[in-house]
Symmetry: C2
Subunit: 113 residues, 2 copies
């Protein structure tokens, strides 16, 4: 899956709010939209984007449509993240050790101005 779409989908605060409302379990669109600062169609559009990103899936329940979190999108991000994690952490460690953090560590005065 394309982690690109997933990142793009989660970049927007409103869309992330929609997504996070599904954490507790499947929910209908009206239920998601209730109490949100944006209109119901806006929520529908966000859900569409999330679905295309593989972040949510949905199922019909009578006249209602229940959306729920699909792990596939999150998995894509997770894979991308893991690819960086170890390497980035090690490189950063090397970085702060060889160049003693000028602004956060002790103000070394080896180079006086």
């Amino acid at each position: 899956m394309s982690y690109g779409r997933a990142f793009a989908a989660l970049a927007d605060p409103s869309r992330r709010a929609v997504f996070e409302r599904l954490k507790s379990g499947p929910r209908a669109v009206v239920d998601i939209a209730r109490g949100m600062p944006v209109s119901r169609p806006a929520v529908s559009q966000h859900l569409k984007a999330l679905k295309e990103a593989g972040l949510v899936s949905d199922r019909a329940e009578g006249a209602r449509r229940l959306y729920f979190i699909d792990p596939h999108g999150l998995a894509a991000i997770r894979r991308w993240l893991d690819e960086f994690w170890d390497e980035a952490l090690a490189a950063y460690q090397r970085e702060v050790e060889s160049h003693r953090k000028p602004e956060e560590g002790k103000p070394e005065r080896k180079a006086a101005k």
Copy 2:
């Protein structure tokens, strides 16, 4: 910190390309920009955004400025991700088990409650 900024920063493909070029280690701006389809100032702007998101850090090296991956931004995303992962996975499992995949399995006539 704010995973929001991190997601927003990584949403853009060009900016992600800049970030991914730092995977191998610290690099100067010109070096990052070389071979990219966008101009050098654009890269600078992307680096600024990545820095504000806590995804990269930088240090002066003479007239050059070396950028490198800062794990803090990635850590923020990782924490957010972990918060969803187990719960989303379990919920999804429950979902596909109780509603035998309508489009992939056999179209069950009526779900027995």
